[in-house]
């Protein structure tokens, strides 16, 4: 095999008045033709920077400070901007993460394809048109002639990513750099796109660099993998080898943190290597604490009971009712959750799982059906004190750690809010002590109280969210994709914390996720949702071992598996 690309000792730094941040240092990688190299690492590791550095598209103030980039027999670092124009697109294609933003929204797909073909292949007119049609066909787009005239927003996410791939292929490049190509896609689409890239790679003997944070993706597609940590490559090797026998402690902890779809484990192995700043968790004795005061009076065996829940959203308004278009987000959903149970809802985006969570939490109005919390009906009843009281026993953890905290309030104020509002602490001093305890308990440490949310990382913020929820002394916790935007290692910590809390406080948890392995690790029972309805409700083990519904089977089938280790 010949070396297609060789990077030697690449250094990239971002300079500002406060100093220089080395985003990439001393990175050397090689890619052969027909090979897929996985570049894996967590956010901030510098992996995307490498991709941009190869085709010299680093935005200022970023700068390549050292190193060589050899493509075939050319040192790309020695080329000027004009010569680079002939490399980009023609020799090296790029695929970006979000197909939503990668395409010019006001230009048809056809025009974007043709302009690229004009430039890279110097083909014009009919020839270019036929070439474009061929390209669309090759990435699996049906009716390419008609689709040429369509605008990006008329495609689904997966289709759009195919168009992006077609654009990347338009110049017949030898190397494709795919930067998180499937992160923004649904699980099933993700699988298709990965298959497509794999197929193209073999068919056209392309070299491919896949930049990703997802071990599953790497396991599925890559031949070799380089693991990045804080701007450096800590380990490179054959995928099977690395996944089964990782050497570097970072790689080890990374792999340990990946939730397993095959077997449920009690807890994730503690990983200290990663979240360097995290405090040692200082536990408090919950039973004797303020937090546990209200635990004894468990009124009912059934915490949440839902029957025939319905919700639709107006898609298109119209003067006359019959002309309005609706989206039936939730259709006849029924289930009940016993106290102390963790109930999961799994489904792809748009399946209505988050809507169910918000309906239960009372954040959305209910069209039809009944929602009972501890036998108290809350659907479409006047908001009297009792309803509010029972509703406030339910708290929620949200998906996005950045928008779920009010950035204008200090952590102390955020957590204090329910305590102050309901005057549950007695005195200000008592309250401060409680807040300190809560922060200790979720593993942030007392000192976090005086800081503001923006001073914390995503995982830490999720801990603050949990502390805020705890401050309301809830009996029910709804977790809406609480870890989907976190790195795997951080995810493992948060999931461990949730497990602990449930044990200590006998919480009832409604856990929403699109990620089957996570569901498996967290839930006692699972509901599978699709198009607003529940396909199947089963005990977690039963579902994973013997799914009943065909959709459940499909989901399990396309679940990324890292079954190479063990």
């Amino acid at each position: 095999m010949t070396k297609l690309l060789e990077i030697k000792n690449l250094n990239v730094s971002f300079s500002s008045r406060l100093g220089t941040i080395k985003a990439v240092h001393g990175v050397s990688i090689t890619v052969q033709a027909g090979e897929v190299l996985g570049l894996v690492g967590e956010s901030g590791a510098g992996k995307s920077t490498i991709g941009n550095a190869i085709i010299n598209l680093i935005e200022p103030p970023g700068k390549i400070t050292d190193g060589e980039v050899w493509f075939k027999d050319k040192n790309l670092r020695k080329l000027n901007e004009n010569e680079m124009l002939n490399i980009r697109g023609q020799k090296i294609g790029m695929i970006f993460q979000d197909p939503q933003t990668s395409l010019n929204p006001v230009m048809t797909i056809g025009t974007q394809l043709l302009e690229t073909i004009n430039k890279t292949k110097k083909l014009f007119g009919k020839l270019a048109y036929h070439n474009a049609i061929e390209l669309l066909q090759s990435v699996g787009i049906e009716q390419p002639e008609a689709r040429m005239k369509a605008y990006p927003h008329q495609f689904s996410g997966g289709m759009r990513q195919r168009v992006v791939i077609a654009l990347a292929l338009a110049g017949d490049p030898d190397l494709i750099i795919a930067d998180e190509p499937t992160t923004a896609l649904d699980v099933s689409t993700q699988a298709q796109i990965l298959d497509l890239i794999r197929a193209l790679c073999i068919e056209r003997r392309l070299g491919v660099i896949i930049v990703t944070h997802d071990m599953g993706v790497v396991a599925n597609i890559a031949d070799r993998v380089s693991v990045m940590y804080r701007g450096s490559i800590v380990e490179t090797g054959d995928v099977k080898y690395i996944l089964s026998t990782p050497h570097h402690p970072y790689t080890k902890s990374l792999l340990a943190a990946v939730p397993r779809g095959d077997v449920k484990i009690k807890r994730f192995t503690s990983i200290d290597y990663i979240e360097g700043g995290a405090h040692k968790q200082k536990r408090i004795a919950v039973a004797e604490h303020w937090l546990g005061e209200k635990l004894v009076d468990n009124k009912s065996k059934v915490a949440i009971s839902i029957t025939d829940l319905n919700k639709k959203f107006v898609l298109k308004k119209a003067l006359f009712k019959q002309n309005r278009l609706y989206n039936q987000a939730v259709k006849d959903v029924s289930f009940s959750i016993t106290t102390g149970e963790t109930f999961g809802i799994v489904g792809e985006s748009g399946s209505g799982k988050s809507t169910v969570a918000r309906l239960v939490a009372g954040l959305l109005s209910i069209d039809k059906g009944s929602v009972k919390l501890f036998d108290k009906e809350i659907a479409n009843v006047p908001k009297n004190r009792q309803v509010v009281a029972v509703q406030s026993e339910l708290q929620m953890i949200f998906q996005d750690p950045f928008s779920s905290l009010n950035s204008k309030m200090s952590v102390e104020d955020i957590i204090a809010e329910p305590i102050r509002y309901y005057k549950t602490a007695g005195s200000e001093d008592k309250m401060k002590q409680i807040i300190g305890d809560l922060l200790d308990h979720v593993g942030l440490g007392k000192n976090a109280a005086l800081k503001y949310p923006h001073e914390f990382s995503g995982g830490q913020r999720q801990r603050i969210s949990i502390a805020r929820a705890l401050a309301a002394r809830p009996k029910i916790l709804i977790c809406d994709e609480p870890t989907s935007s976190l790195d795997v290692s951080v995810q493992a910590h948060i999931l461990n914390l949730l497990k602990d809390l449930q044990d200590e406080l006998n919480l009832t948890i409604l856990f929403i996720s699109h990620d089957l392995p996570v569901i498996r690790q967290m839930c006692d029972r699972v509901a599978v949702m699709r198009h607003g309805s529940i396909c199947e409700i089963a005990k977690t083990n039963d579902l994973f071992n013997a799914p009943n519904h065909s959709y459940s089977k499909h989901l399990l089938n396309i679940m990324p598996k890292i079954d190479l280790f063990a």
């Binding site: 406060l18 923004a184 985006s349 954040l363 949200f398 996005d400 750690p401 009010n406 995503g458 989907s484």
Partner: protein
Amino acid sequence: MKKVQIASSSFQDNAKIRNALLENFSQPTTLLSGGLLFLVALCAIFAPLIAPTNPYNLAVVSIMDSRLAPGEEMFDGTVAWLGTDGAGRDILSAILFGLRTSLLVAVCSALIALIIGLLVGLIAAFFGGRTDTFLMRIVDIQLSFPAILVALVLLAVLGKGIDKVIIALVIVQWAIYARTVRATAIVERRKEYIEAATCLRLSNFRIIWKHLLPNSISPLIVLATLQTAHSISIEATLSFLGVGVPITEPSLGSLISNGFDYILSGAYWITLFPGIMLLATVAAINIFGDRLRVLLNPRLSK
């Protein structure tokens, strides 16, 4: 679409913001405009103390001193460094006092309009639905009136006076704030921290006051700066068109428009110096507002 945000290292983020702040505040334009603004504000606040004469005191101003060239001596012996106007007011003093009036009008109207707009915008964004539609239609009506004409008609109705100019400017401006607040607040409204607050079953008032407001206000601060500059300009224009502040208590705008009658006769200083002051003030506020916008919008700062 699932929203995937890459949780970049927080410390780096922080450094970036602080960096942007530092970089912005140490830029010469920011320093210059900020400094100028500070100076202007000082002049306005301490005008009665630093002005050589009190141009609003008719018992002191004498018509016999009218239209003295810069540097000439007035009857009572004071030197009019920037000359005197048609009524015998020392231009330097008149600028200082006029600045006070102009700033008072602009800042008051901007503040009051901001408060009204803030309330309307927040209520519209928070409650949504019919409340939103209703309030926004009112805003539309207000915005479809051309500002200068509304102010003109209003002042024709209300008569002259600083308070009346402020009322007119408030009526002209509040809707702009309301619309801006609503635009921001409606985005914030959908964020999860508002849902979290709802989960805590806090009262609507508390959610609006403690959560929605603090997060929706920053674009308003920028808008308020720019609107303040604009108000000064509008006030000057109104004075030019003959409505505005009383003649015996001129603002920068009325000084300019009064002085303009004399420009052909060579008494350039009556309109020129207040004009320069007006321009400097408005430009300084605008530049400062611009910088503030860059500063408060981390996306724009590099």
